[in-house]
């Protein structure tokens, strides 16, 4: 689905953010990208949709080369890549609906988008997506009236209405509390498997990454230093990615799913939990 070859980015300041990154993400795979701050995670996903222009290397999406496209073709290509942001990056003064419909801008001519007269199919799609992420009651609210978790759901909906082939997700949980973080990660996982979407998720929380992602790629100083299944993340690997530290407590324990999961168990009722948790904080 996504193939990256020798991707290198040197900023004008001279900082080498990425150095010859080779990576392949097959269709339907949700891949986690971990690494210390400044390792180049954000640069990497921004080089894929060319919000940041790579200095060298090539990016292919479904066989088509993204690097080297002209402006209009690049815009058409960006429609196939949904992006979700750390601080949500919603347009605060627009309504939830306008934010979600902005995901369709690549498909709609300027005059239609200016008068907010989107094609009926787009509106239906937006409603369906908002329903899926659990925000159907908040359609007409302004984005700045929502809570963090709700905003990220709007961000997810905006990316989904693009009908993307891949999601580029930049620290989706960094501004959220632990519980909401899990809900959001779970939602992303569910949606990707429902739609067979591939995704790259930049994430800081190693425990969360292990809980929801199958494959982890570790980035350090702009180079891939680890690529393997989540279970293979052992202290020595983390040391390789992040540097020396006592890692035993940040790695997921197979017997216990971490603090929140323990708390869940106390409540009993296992089956209803995910659904309830998914909708918690929305009312």
């Amino acid at each position: 689905m996504l193939r990256i070859e020798g991707l290198t980015k040197r900023y004008r300041t001279g900082d080498l953010a990425l150095e010859g990154v080779d990576l392949e993400v097959p269709a339907g795979q949700v891949m986690g990208l971990i690494g210390p701050s400044g390792a180049g995670k954000s640069t990497l996903i921004r080089c894929i949709n060319r919000l940041v222009e790579p200095s060298a290397g090539r990016v292919f999406l479904g066989g088509a080369e993204v690097t080297g496209l002209g402006r209009a073709q690049l815009r058409a290509m960006r429609r196939r890549m949904g992006m979700i942001f750390q601080e949500f990056a919603l347009v605060e003064r627009l309504t939830v609906m306008e934010n979600v419909l902005s995901g369709r801008l690549g498909y709609v001519p300027f005059w239609r988008s200016l008068s907010r007269r989107f094609p009926p199919e787009d509106v239906t799609k937006a409603y369906r997506t908002l329903d899926r992420v659990g925000l159907i009651d908040h359609v007409d609210k302004r984005a700045d009236a929502l809570s963090g978790g709700q905003r990220q759901r709007v961000g997810i909906a905006r990316a989904l209405v693009q009908d993307p082939d891949i999601l580029l997700i930049d620290e989706p949980t960094a501004s959220l509390d632990p519980k909401t973080s899990r809900q959001i990660m779970r939602l992303i996982g569910e949606i990707c498997s429902e739609r067979g979407l591939a995704a790259i998720v930049n994430i800081h929380d190693v425990g969360l990454a292990q809980m929801f992602l199958q494959r982890i790629v570790g980035l350090r100083h702009g180079k891939v230093v680890f690529d393997g299944p989540a279970e293979a993340l052992k202290p020595d690997v983390l040391t390789q990615i992040y540097g020396e530290e006592d890692w035993t407590r940040s790695i997921r324990d197979d017997e216990e799913d971490g603090d929140a999961a323990r708390a869940d168990r106390k409540h009993g009722d296992h089956a209803a939990e995910p659904e309830r948790e998914r909708l918690a904080g929305l009312t």
């Binding site: 429609r79 942001f85 601080e87 990056a89 347009v91 801008l105 905006r158 580029l168």
Partner: protein, 272 residues
């Protein structure tokens, strides 16, 4: 932050070193000295007998001004209407011309930071550096006396104001929102419509209403040089020393300004 270790082991902290303290006192001393000197220069040519006379003179004019000649109001309604129109149309024209200039001047939207931006900044500076009254003076000779000269004068003076404040607002927008909309595959025009305009709209409304409010005052003055409105009446009244009329005009101006301030406060409150 000088830190001194006393003999008993305690640490003394002060905001500045003694040297910095001394320099600061010296700076204040210079400022006071300069003020005294300037006062002397300023009052060199003052004829003190005139100043001593001032209260009597002021009282005299004040006496002549009251009561205002209320009947004169009949002849003020039309100029008053002109004044409001000059301000409103002038502001509208300034907004139409100033908004593109602002986008050309803002670092994050200018098409070229080396060529276009300095030009846009030049437009802003030259518009701001010339007072509306002087613009009016020039325009009355070019366009002839009347309301049109007033409108254009007000507009020319306001372009810089509107463009400067607006481009500062544009430069302060949250770039993440722009990035997010760009990432959907939107065209530059759509990015502007969806990511930028919503962010600058409150600033835009505030700036426009604020400038309109200022322009109400300015437009009551441009008539002094023949550019229409209340100023025209003011000038003719002053020329014939018709003080009761002057006081009435000043009252009308005061009332108009109060009204415009009330309106602009309401509008700003409603939008933000």
């Amino acid at each position: 932050m000088p830190v001194a270790h006393a003999a008993d082991g305690r640490v003394a902290w002060r905001r500045r070193t003694p040297r910095q303290d001394l320099l600061r006192w010296f700076g204040w001393f210079l400022l006071v000295a300069l003020t005294v000197f300037c006062w002397q220069v300023m009052t060199q040519d003052t004829i003190w007998s005139f100043v001593a006379d001032a209260p009597t003179q002021a009282a005299d004019i004040g006496q002549r001004m009251v009561p205002p000649r209320w009947e004169y109001m009949d002849r003020l309604w039309w100029p008053l209407w002109d004044t409001i129109n000059i301000a409103t149309l002038g502001t509208a024209l300034a907004v139409v011309l100033g908004v593109p200039v602002a986008f050309l001047a803002a670092r994050n939207t200018t098409p070229s930071a080396t060529f276009v931006r300095p030009l846009a900044l030049l437009v802003i500076v030259s518009s701001r550096s010339i007072n509306a009254l002087i613009w009016a003076l020039l325009l009355v000779t070019i366009l002839g006396p009347g309301v049109l000269a007033g409108i254009v004068a007000i507009a020319l003076r306001s372009i810089g104001f509107v463009a400067k404040l607006l481009y500062e607002a544009i430069e302060e927008i949250d770039q993440a929102q722009v990035e997010a909309v760009t990432a959907t595959g939107a065209s530059p025009a759509q990015v502007m419509d969806y990511a930028m305009v919503p962010q600058i709209l409150p600033a835009f409304a505030g700036i426009t209403v604020f400038r309109w409010d200022i322009n109400i005052r300015e437009s009551s003055v441009v008539g002094l040089v023949g550019a229409g409105g209340l100023g025209l009446q003011l000038e003719s009244s002053l020329n014939v020393l018709a003080w009761p009329q002057v006081s009435l005009i000043l009252l009308v101006v005061l009332a108009t300004v109060l009204l415009s301030e009330w309106v602009s406060a309401k509008v700003r409150h409603a939008i933000i």
